[in-house]
């Protein structure tokens, strides 16, 4: 049984001051998320990602269509006891300390001492806030708020976690940490549904992704299927006496570029790569790396989004802007 089932979900927001008219934020979205997978929800700003997650959290009521989580309708309060949610750009009571916030949230889930205390300690350790446990949240940086946001989504040991832009506002180290946490959730059998527009994170983590643009589902499936992975050649990095070797290598391949004391070679075919590699040692160069070149999700994303672009509709209040 799918963990999340979305059927024909549509949401209109009323816009305008005097003559209110509906603006469609989400248009007939249907998809399913399987148990135990990391599901990436991709799209530019204003695509309807947050609207979808808010509809799933019952913070918004759908105009039409329906959704079920763990087999229960989204307005089931009991079901909400088994899921976790991190809002986009989260903000929590700034007069509380992380420890107090987690205890508060834990009590809403019906957790009692001493189990709650143990859980709070473990969570603060997991998100790296153990040392800041007694600092009021008003003194927190954006990255720290994001971390406590993730911790509060995990207090109840959820079966499914919905993370709305969990990487936003984090530095590279913080992003690595969040990646690690998401990967560890999957290892524990937790289903993770997260939205993002930071593509390397999605590429590194997701089993399947859905791509959303202007409220419509563009594509859903495994990343390899969507990217139709094909190797477009190889990138070879060399070092050594590159000034002398650049000319000799240049005739063998598509592109050669000197980068500092290194030579970056782009070989468009298997034959080119073999020819370059056979010359490397003759020319006294050192081979640093050989990497296959394949289209990144980013390349795909821009192609698809551009192809799917329609004449701009009126902005809607649920989105943060209209993609161009």
């Amino acid at each position: 049984m799918p963990v999340v089932e979305i059927e024909n979900l549509t949401k209109d927001f009323l816009v305008g001051f005097w003559r209110k008219r509906p603006a469609r934020a989400l248009d007939g979205l249907s998809l399913q998320v399987r148990r135990g997978e990391i599901f990436g929800f991709l799209g530019p700003n204003g695509a309807g990602k947050s609207t979808t997650i808010k509809l799933l959290m019952h913070l918004l009521r759908p105009t039409s269509g329906q959704a079920r989580i763990l087999g229960a309708p989204v307005d089931s309060v009991a079901m909400h006891g088994k899921i976790g949610y991190l809002p986009e750009n989260p903000y929590f009571y700034d007069y509380l300390t992380p420890e107090e916030l987690l205890r508060y949230v834990g009590r809403l889930f019906g957790c009692r001492r001493p189990e709650l205390g143990r859980k709070v300690d473990a969570l603060l350790e997991t998100v790296g806030l153990a040392e800041a446990r007694s600092t009021q949240l008003r003194k927190f940086s954006k990255g720290m708020v994001q971390r406590i946001g993730i911790a509060q989504a995990l207090v109840n040991d959820p079966e499914v976690v919905f993370l709305d832009e969990p990487m936003s506002g984090l530095d590279p180290l913080g992003r690595m940490e969040v990646r690690r946490i998401i990967a560890s959730l999957k290892a524990r059998g937790v289903t993770v549904f997260f939205s993002s527009h930071i593509l390397p994170d999605v590429e590194a983590l997701c089993d399947r992704v859905a791509i959303l643009n202007r409220g419509r589902l563009q594509e859903v499936g495994a990343l390899e299927e969507i990217l139709k992975v094909r190797i477009e050649g190889h990138e070879i990095l060399l070092s050594g006496a590159i000034a002398d070797a650049a000319g000799a290598i240049g005739v063998l391949c598509d592109e050669v570029r000197a980068m500092g004391d290194r030579l970056r070679v782009r070989a468009g075919s298997q034959a080119q790569m073999e020819a370059v590699l056979s010359k490397v040692f003759d020319l006294g160069l050192e081979l640093i790396s050989v990497n296959p070149i394949r289209p990144s999700l980013e390349d795909y994303f821009f192609q698809e989004v551009r192809a799917g672009a329609r004449p701009p509709a009126a902005g809607f209040p649920g989105g943060k802007g209209v993609a161009s």
Binding site: L59, A78, G81, F92, V105, L108
Partner: protein, 264 residues
């Protein structure tokens, strides 16, 4: 029920950590203590002056606390979007409203108790009030607390759909209008036009009627012979019942508004 209490407790904690509250209480206490000095200006009526000034301070500052904290109760959660994470937890929306309300009520109870203790100390220091008067202070302050409970419910209702400034204005206007309930009814009785009569009678029942809490008066506490109200438990009980019913209706409206809300 668990989530109502947990939210109420957190709301109380939020209020306790709000500095505005301390300023208001401090100001009220200063005013109560200064009534000792002002009382000396009168001849033989010190206790009445201390009581009237003290009770008025409790009432007005209680109202200010109720309005200023009440209008932000829901609005702040919406504005800062703390409500998103909260409502995605196993929390009914009505539990959220009720929890917020009870949390502020608890804050008011503590504040009113502190201000009453200040007034009692002022009376004891003066030494002119009987022990009976001190005992009769309790139902009088309880009546003030009931009126504050109604002010809080109204402020909370407005804060579910309006900005803090407008909510404060609406609540304050209702607080003022609510003191003229009986005059409104009398106006209806003498009005020539049937429409006016219906409007004034309708307004009398819809508007909060704060005049039912008027035993908060020095003449009742000092047992002034000219004061018509006796220490009638039925009067206090009736006022309490009216307060509970009125708050229930106002809070139900707040829940209805909140249930229909989309959190964009």
């Amino acid at each position: 029920m668990n989530s109502v209490l947990v939210i109420a407790q957190n709301t109380f904690r939020e209020n306790v950590r709000d500095k505005v509250l301390y300023n208001l209480i401090l100001f009220a206490l200063i005013l109560i203590i200064s009534s000792l000095l002002i009382g000396q200006l009168s001849l033989g009526n010190e206790v009445r002056i201390i009581l009237d000034l003290g009770l008025a301070s409790i009432s007005v500052f209680g109202m200010l606390i109720a309005v200023f904290l009440g209008i932000g109760l829901v609005y702040k959660e919406l504005d800062k979007r703390t409500v998103y994470a909260l409502l995605a937890k196993p929390v009914h929306r009505h539990a959220f409203i009720l929890g917020k309300y009870l949390g502020l009520l608890l804050t008011l109870l503590v504040n009113v108790a502190i201000m009453t203790a200040g007034l009692a100390l002022a009376l004891l220091y003066h030494g002119g009030a009987s022990w009976g008067a001190l005992v009769r202070l309790v139902p009088a302050v309880f009546m003030i607390f009931l009126s504050l409970a109604m002010v809080t419910a109204l402020a909370l209702l407005f804060s579910t759909f309006s900005t803090p400034a407008l909510s404060a204005l609406f609540t304050f206007l209702l607080w003022v209008a609510g003191h003229f309930g009986k005059d409104l009814l009398r106006f209806g009785e003498i009005a020539q036009s049937a429409v006016l009569r219906w409007i004034s009678v309708g307004a009398y029942y819809v508007l909060p009627n704060f005049s039912v809490f008027t035993i908060a008066d020095s003449r009742y506490i000092t047992r002034d012979a000219t004061y018509p109200l006796a220490a009638d438990p039925l009067l206090v009980g009736g006022a309490a019942l009216y307060c509970v019913l009125y708050c229930a209706v106002v809070l139900s409206l707040a829940v209805l508004v909140f249930l229909r809300r989309d959190f964009k």
